[in-house]
Structure formats: structure tokens, C-alpha cells
């Protein structure tokens, strides 16, 4: 059942976002962390839908627990269909260290989709990256980090809107990267941000 729902959601997302895919779309189930600029609620669904079904099946979006951990449809989608890794945004009520949650979420077979800006930007240049991706990457140096650029989704479903408008978007997958030997946190985060930004020249 959840595969049928997932397939249907992927189809609808592909249709609504009309995404042209640039760069090398991952075709194997190697463990990866896809990190992208964040401009719309649709971002993770559209990246997820852009992956081939067998890669999609082992790829988990990272999402806000306060929004997704609800009874009913939203919770069902997050838990069963997307198999999301849910993170407590509010540190005051957080029971677990979010880095632990992310490392657990990777396990020994899963990939993650993360938005290191932490919040949706205005669709222009991505803002500074939060350090979570660096900390997870140093804990799991074997996992590939794949930069992803999303373009025009902020016009398809802007902040504060519920109904999408079916324009055409672009998704660009970049070359995998890793944290360099002795690379500082600030250097890595800036390099990662630039790697996303550079994908504009598809």
C-alpha cells in the first residue's frame, strides 16, 4: 500500500514541478547525504521523486518533528511513505541530540535528504549552512555528500501558499564531496554552500 501511495505522490510531484534534471542522477543505493538549497515545502518531495524508485526506497528526508509528527495523513506520510527522519527543532524540548538522530537515521543502508540552511530561503542565494551536516559527515566519513540545486520551486509553491502552480523547475545533482583532512567546520560549510550555488551553471 505505502509503495502505491509513494509512487503516486512521486508521479504527482514530477508532474507539478515539471523538473528538468541536470548532472548525474544517482543510480545506485550507495549511502549518501543529499544537501540542497531550501525554497519551498515541495523541495524534499521533488528531490525524492527525481531519484530512481530503487534509490528512492532507501532515501529518507530529514524533516521537522513539530510539523510532521502528527496523527492522521501527515504522520502517515512522514512515517510510512517517506520514512522521514524527524528532528526536534526546538532545543528546549529536544530529548535526543539531533546529530545522534541523523546518524541513527543513516544506519547502515539509508541515505538522507537535508536542507542545511535550516529554513526556507527567498529563492535567491542560499543562506549560511548550519553545522549539522559537518558533524554528521565527520561521524560517518564513508557517506558521500551530494550537492543538489533546486531552481524555481519557490514560484511553484511559495511560502505561505497551499496550492501549487505548475511551472517548470530544474534540479541539478553535483559531484559527490567529502570533508577534507583537517578542514575546519567553517571552511567546509562554505565550500558545501558554494558547491550548491555553482550548480546554477548547468
Amino acid at each position: 500500500m505505502k509503495h502505491v501511495v509513494g509512487g503516486a505522490i512521486a508521479r504527482v510531484a514530477q508532474f507539478l514541478a515539471g523538473a528538468t534534471i541536470h548532472g548525474e542522477r544517482p543510480s545506485d543505493t550507495r549511502q549518501r547525504i543529499y544537501f540542497a538549497n531550501h525554497t519551498s515545502h515541495l523541495d524534499f518531495v521533488v528531490i525524492w521523486a527525481a531519484l530512481p524508485p530503487h534509490v528512492r526506497a532507501c532515501t529518507r528526508p530529514v524533516a521537522a518533528k513539530d510539523y510532521w509528527d502528527k496523527r492522521g495523513l501527515r504522520g502517515y506520510l512522514a512515517r510510512e511513505v517517506f520514512n522521514a527522519v524527524l528532528i526536534e527543532r526546538d532545543r528546549a524540548v529536544a530529548h535526543a541530540d539531533p546529530i545522534e538522530t541523523l546518524v541513527d537515521g543513516l544506519g547502515d543502508s539509508h541515505s538522507l535528504i537535508v536542507f542545511p540552511e535550516g529554513t526556507r530561503g527567498s529563492g535567491t542565494d542560499p543562506g549560511p549552512f548550519k553545522s549539522g551536516i559537518y558533524r554528521v559527515a565527520t561521524r560517518r566519513p564513508d557517506v558521500e555528500l551530494v550537492p543538489v540545486l533546486i531552481d524555481n520551486l519557490n514560484r511553484i509553491l511559495p511560502k505561505g501558499e497551499f496550492t501549487p502552480v505548475p511551472l517548470l523547475s530544474h534540479i541539478a545533482f553535483g559531484q559527490p564531496m567529502r570533508v577534507g583532512d583537517g578542514e575546519t567546520k567553517a571552511d567546509f560549510l562554505e565550500r558545501a554552500r558554494k558547491a550548491v550555488l555553482e550548480l546554477r551553471e548547468w
Binding site: N152, R155, P158, E161, T163, P166
Partner: protein, 315 residues
């Protein structure tokens, strides 16, 4: 559908299309083997991608005609929707236009094609020029963002007129009443689409073979005088040769073909001007070798309404 298979005229037409595609495919393969330089190879590869796409497009178009009407309405509705999304993607709209655009895509486009399907001519002819024209600026004004207001409203309205209103006149041919031609209107649709698209192809071929002087080099680097004259004249001759499937006599068919090929040319040129202004080569990449949907149907958008009116008033 069964009636269609007994219809010798239509079978001959489809046979003609298939024969043409086979010839084009063979020529494309031969040229590929003979191509020597890299630039020649990339031109021929693009040509072959176009021919392959023509097979698919011809198949889909034939299938839609076989359904006896509704299929054509759905096909052109889908083409309008796709062309409009390409157009609006290139048009700089602002967040305050979002709700208006939602109505445009999910209410106005389906409604226009519903009116075609139900043969409601009165409302069909004014829905977009009058009601959408009043609705769009009102909805944007309600969102309260005055920046470049007139420009934004005008661009959305313009996109609707070209991609939806004009194009919907092509399947609307099915509702035209022509003396002694009842139930055969699909032939008019076939005539229009084949003549206009063949004119595009022939202009391309003549331009590649003989073209030197460009008509409007800044706007369209591929349109040459030789391509224009050769393409228009051969497509007009083709239209005249197809008179037997239409309610026209041979010279009327030639005049009709001449008018719609000229309009098709102007459509291609106009839509190119917008692309150059926005700094892109194609509207999209959904049809291999051709670009986007709007790149393929721009000529039909201009030829459709005029052909519709000529048939409606004179036959």
C-alpha cells in the same frame, strides 16, 4: 473507430504520413553516414532527433483523431497547459500573482476546453478575451502588490491568449458546421495541422539547402528568405493537393494553405522575439530535437484562429 478504419480517405492520409516519415527516416540515416565534420554531424543528429519525435507526435495526433473528437480536445487541452507553463516559467511574475495563476491553470484552461468539447461557441469566444481579461488584474489587485502591475497582468493575459485561446481554435474546428461536410470536420483539423507543420519542416529544409540571407537575424537566426519562399510555396502546393479531403476546391485549398502558412511563419517569428528578449533558445526541452511544446506549436497558435474564422464564415 471502426468507422474510421473503413474510411478510405483517412486511411490514405495516414498512409501518406507514414510513408513520408519512412522516407525522412531513411534520408536522415543516410545523411548521418555521409556526415564528415563535427558540425555537420551535430546538425544531422538534431535532424534525426526531430524525425524521431515526429513519429511520436504523428502517432499521438492520429490516435486523437481516431477517437472521433474528444481525444483531440483533450490532446490540445494538454498542449495548451504545457505551452502555458513554459510561457509563464519564462515570464517574471511576482509572489502576489500566485493565486491568479492558480485560477489560470486549473480553472480557465480546463473551462476553455470544456466549452470546445460541449460546442458552446458563444462563451468559448469570449471567456478569455473578456472574462479572464477582467479577472486576472482584479485577482492580482486583491493581492495588493502594485509593482509592475500592468506588465504582470498583461503578460499573463498574453500567455493565455496565445497558448490557450488561439490554440483552442484548432480542436474547435470540430464544431464548425460546413455544408455537406457534417461529421467530417476531423479532416479540417488534419488539413490545418499537416499544412502548418509541413510548412515549418519545409522552411527548415529549404533554409538548410539554399538559405543565405536572413530575414530577421537578431530575432531568428534560422529564418532565411530562401527557406521562407521555398517553404511557403511548397506547403501551399501541398495544401492544394489535399483539396479532396476538404470542402474547398483546389484553388480555395491553395489560398487557405497560403494564408495559414504565412500566419504560421509570423507565429514562429513572434514567439522567437519573446525568446530572444528573455535570452533563451527554446521554451523548454520536452520534445527531443524540437525544444519545448511551445516551440513546436507556435505556428499553429497563429494559424488556428484565422483558419477557423475563414472556414466558419465562407463555408
Amino acid at each position: 473507430m471502426v468507422n474510421f478504419l473503413k474510411d478510405r480517405q483517412m486511411l490514405m492520409l495516414f498512409g501518406g504520413v507514414v510513408a513520408l516519415l519512412i522516407v525522412a527516416t531513411i534520408i536522415g540515416r543516410l545523411l548521418r553516414m555521409r556526415a564528415k565534420s563535427d558540425s555537420a554531424r551535430s546538425t544531422i543528429d538534431n535532424l534525426n532527433a526531430r524525425i524521431n519525435a515526429w513519429w511520436v507526435m504523428s502517432f499521438v495526433f492520429t490516435l486523437s483523431l481516431l477517437t472521433g473528437g474528444l481525444g483531440s480536445v483533450i490532446l490540445f487541452g494538454f498542449l495548451s497547459f504545457s505551452a502555458l507553463r513554459e510561457f509563464i516559467t519564462l515570464t517574471p511574475t511576482r509572489p502576489a500573482d500566485h493565486r491568479a495563476l492558480f485560477w489560470v491553470f486549473f480553472v480557465i484552461v480546463p473551462l476553455q476546453y470544456y466549452l470546445v468539447a460541449t460546442h458552446w461557441y458563444g462563451l468559448f469566444s469570449i471567456l478569455i478575451p473578456v472574462y479572464a481579461f477582467l479577472f486576472i488584474p482584479s485577482r492580482i489587485a486583491l493581492s495588493g502588490d502594485p509593482e509592475r502591475f500592468l506588465e504582470r497582468s498583461a503578460k499573463i493575459q498574453w500567455g493565455l491568449m496565445i497558448c490557450v485561446y488561439c490554440l483552442s481554435h484548432v480542436p474547435a474546428l470540430l464544431m464548425v458546421k460546413v455544408l455537406n461536410f457534417e461529421g467530417k470536420q476531423a479532416r479540417l483539423l488534419f488539413f490545418l495541422v499537416v499544412v502548418v507543420q509541413m510548412s515549418d519542416v519545409l522552411q527548415y529544409v529549404w533554409g538548410k539547402l539554399a538559405g543565405k540571407t536572413k530575414i530577421a537575424p537578431v530575432i531568428s537566426p534560422s529564418k532565411t528568405w530562401a527557406g521562407f519562399l521555398g517553404g511557403i510555396l511548397t506547403a501551399t502546393a501541398l495544401g492544394a493537393c489535399l483539396w479532396w479531403i476538404t470542402p474547398f476546391n483546389p484553388w480555395q485549398a491553395a489560398v487557405m494553405a497560403f494564408v495559414i502558412t504565412i500566419l504560421g511563419f509570423l507565429g514562429g517569428l513572434t514567439m522567437s522575439a519573446i525568446k530572444r528578449d528573455r535570452g533563451v533558445k527554446d521554451y523548454g526541452a520536452s520534445i527531443a530535437g524540437h525544444g519545448g511544446v511551445l516551440d513546436r506549436i507556435d505556428s499553429l497558435c497563429f494559424a488556428g484562429p484565422v483558419f477557423f474564422h475563414l472556414v466558419r464564415y465562407y463555408f
